[in-house]
């Protein structure tokens, strides 16, 4: 990175550190922070969408849909989430391959599960065996996003379902009195009003989502945990220009500080957002704001 980095073994401490922290692998480590942020940026809206669908299903009039929605919420919330992460990554992968297998190779006659193997025809493999490395990585990341979205969608569905029920009944009755259909009163009255009630739960969920991102490591994505283990391990002079003892503790300390800073920042931003949303609302918070101003 720097011009003086050619022979690190003779450098003074601070220059050695500067060179060490800007090696190619460290750059990959810094980029992986971006991976985490990218995951958050994609997962948050997608799981909000899943949550919205789940909540809509859970209050549907058609009973099979209602059962489906409620089961989705109940099952995902009742089991350790990490089990879900480990389960969905394989299950989704196999489900996709199985579907493609059914479509692409209709005249395949061997069983798919042969003993301990899961065998589909070569065209149905995901990603294709011939695909370049970046497609494999993107596919893995996509699976991770989908898994996160399914799990967090259930949490979000629960929050939104609760918020929909908190909207004052009188509002809905008024809508009915004006002759709105069920659909109209849902989209025009219920949905715009529920967000204030949903926000505390959703911001809580955001905090949880931030704290769930290290689980990416378990899903096989090269994230910050992967790199912290990789870079921190003891290095001997034979394999690297920058030998050092086991520094994994310090790398994980850095991750700890990163997460603490990130949650603190989110807390401040969400608090501001809540302040703005409660402004003028007929809730305790809104009342307190009005009194403080008066």
């Amino acid at each position: 990175m720097f011009s003086f980095c050619t022979d690190p073994s003779i450098l003074p401490d601070w220059q050695w550190m500067a060179c060490y922290l800007t090696t190619g692998k460290h750059m990959a480590f810094y980029v992986s922070f971006g991976t985490v942020l990218l995951l958050l940026a994609i997962t948050a809206p997608v799981s909000l969408g899943f949550g919205f669908l789940g909540a809509m299903a859970a209050r549907a009039r058609l009973w099979p849909v209602r059962i489906l929605g409620r089961a989705y919420i109940a099952v995902v919330r009742g089991v350790p989430d990490i089990a879900f992460f480990l389960f969905f990554v394989i299950a989704l992968d196999q489900a996709f391959e199985w579907l493609r297998h059914k479509v692409l190779c209709p005249d395949w006659d061997q069983p798919i599960r042969q003993g301990n193997d899961f065998v589909v025809c070569a065209e149905a493999k995901l990603p294709l065996g011939t695909a370049p490395q970046w497609i494999h990585e993107t596919y893995g990341f996509g699976l991770a996003v989908l898994t996160f979205a399914i799990v967090f969608g259930a949490f979000a569905a629960n929050v939104i379902f609760g918020a929909m029920r908190t909207v004052p009944r009188a509002q809905m009755e008024t809508a009915e009195a004006y002759g709105m259909t069920r659909r109209q009163s849902f989209w025009r009255i219920l949905v715009p009003q529920m967000w204030v009630y949903a926000l505390p739960g959703l911001s809580n969920l955001w905090m949880i989502l931030i704290k769930a991102t290290p689980l990416l490591f378990l899903l096989g994505v090269e994230d910050i945990v992967y790199w912290a283990r990789e870079l921190g391990g003891a290095k001997t002079p034979r394999f690297t220009d920058y030998p050092h003892p086991d520094w994994r503790m310090w790398y994980f300390l850095a991750l700890l500080v990163f997460y603490l800073a990130f949650t603190k920042l989110s807390e401040i931003v969400l608090e501001r957002l809540m302040q703005r949303l409660t402004h003028g609302q007929a809730t305790m918070g809104g009342e307190a704001q009005r009194k403080a101003a008066a």
């Binding site: 099952v75 995902v76 919330r77 009742g78 089991v79 350790p80 989430d81 990490i82 089990a83 480990l86 389960f87 394989i90 299950a91 196999q94 599960r113 301990n116 193997d117 899961f118 949490f155 629960n158 949880i208 931030i210 704290k211 769930a212 991102t213 290290p214 689980l215 490591f217 378990l218 945990v225 912290a228 283990r229 921190g232 086991d246 994994r248 503790m249 994980f252 300390l253 991750l255 700890l256 997460y259 603490l260 949650t263 603190k264």
Partner: protein, 268 residues
């Protein structure tokens, strides 16, 4: 091999009693049920002990956070912030590697690098922080009248805390504390995925479920078994905590008693 034989071999495998080698091929349903159930011993162990010790520290932390003296309040606030603001997964990793470097300083830390102690300490501190925050919230919502009545009866200091404040705090915090207990048991599944080695493949339920899923490449059997065990565990917890809840609320008029509402599962 009959199922009874499998149970005899593997029921206590996770604590090192019974057959040494894990099954390698031709996995039967019985083997999966037995081994994953055997792993539950660890989940229950971590959960129970962390919950028990954490309860006392949580009370202390909650009292500390509501103290007026900043020398007591600030450390309690920081303790809660650090453990609630960062992922448990990273805390496990950090603690493991920290203990590992301490081990080279003194052999005293040998035991800390194994899961039974090191992970237990992390879980203990973590649950103490989460429950401490719950108890702190409950402390702040103790009705003024209760404390004033205690003052009027001449209660003060330790007796006032022991007889009035502490029971009321527990009563108010209990529903949230039940949730916390359930999360804690779910969080114990992280232990063997976060650095702490499973010595001689003695792991927890998820460790074995993952073992089977890796070996058979079929997640549709071991993970539902694991889920079944955890649902049973959760139901048992809700039952026990519900009994305590009834005991805590026994002096209230019938309709003021709120049944325990449980909203399980939050990742930390």
């Amino acid at each position: 091999m009959s199922c009874a034989q499998t149970i005899a071999d593997y029921a206590l495998r996770s604590v090192g009693i019974g057959e040494r080698l894990l099954p390698r091929s031709d996995f039967t349903l019985c083997q999966q049920f037995t081994l994953i159930g055997s792993g539950m011993i660890w989940n229950v162990y971590f959960g129970l002990f962390a919950l028990f010790f954490g309860f006392f520290l949580a009370t202390a932390v909650a009292m500390g956070k509501s103290a007026r003296n900043p020398l007591i309040r600030k450390p309690a606030e920081w303790f809660i912030f650090i453990f609630r603001g960062s992922p448990l997964f990273i805390q496990f990793f950090f603690a493991y590697f920290a203990f590992l470097s301490l081990k080279s300083v003194s052999p005293f830390f040998d035991a800390f690098t194994s899961a039974w102690l090191g992970a237990l300490i992390v879980l203990f501190l973590n649950t103490a922080a989460y429950s401490g925050e719950i108890f702190y919230g409950a402390l702040r919502s103790i009705p003024r009248g209760d404390v004033e009545a205690a003052d009027a009866y001449g209660f003060s200091g330790w007796t006032r805390f022991r007889r009035i404040i502490w029971p009321t705090m527990l009563r108010l915090a209990w529903p949230a504390y039940t949730n916390e207990a359930i999360f804690l048991f779910h969080a114990t599944t992280l232990v063997f995925f976060s650095g702490f080695p499973a010595f001689q493949q003695r792991g927890d339920a998820l460790y074995y479920a993952n073992y089977f899923a890796d070996k058979t490449f079929n997640p549709f059997v071991p993970y539902p078994i694991l889920a079944g065990y955890f649902i049973l565990l959760t139901l048992a917890l809700i039952g026990v905590f519900g009994l305590v809840n009834r005991h805590l609320n026994r002096h209230l008029p019938q309709e003021a008693r709120r049944p325990l509402r449980v909203r399980p599962n939050v990742i930390r």
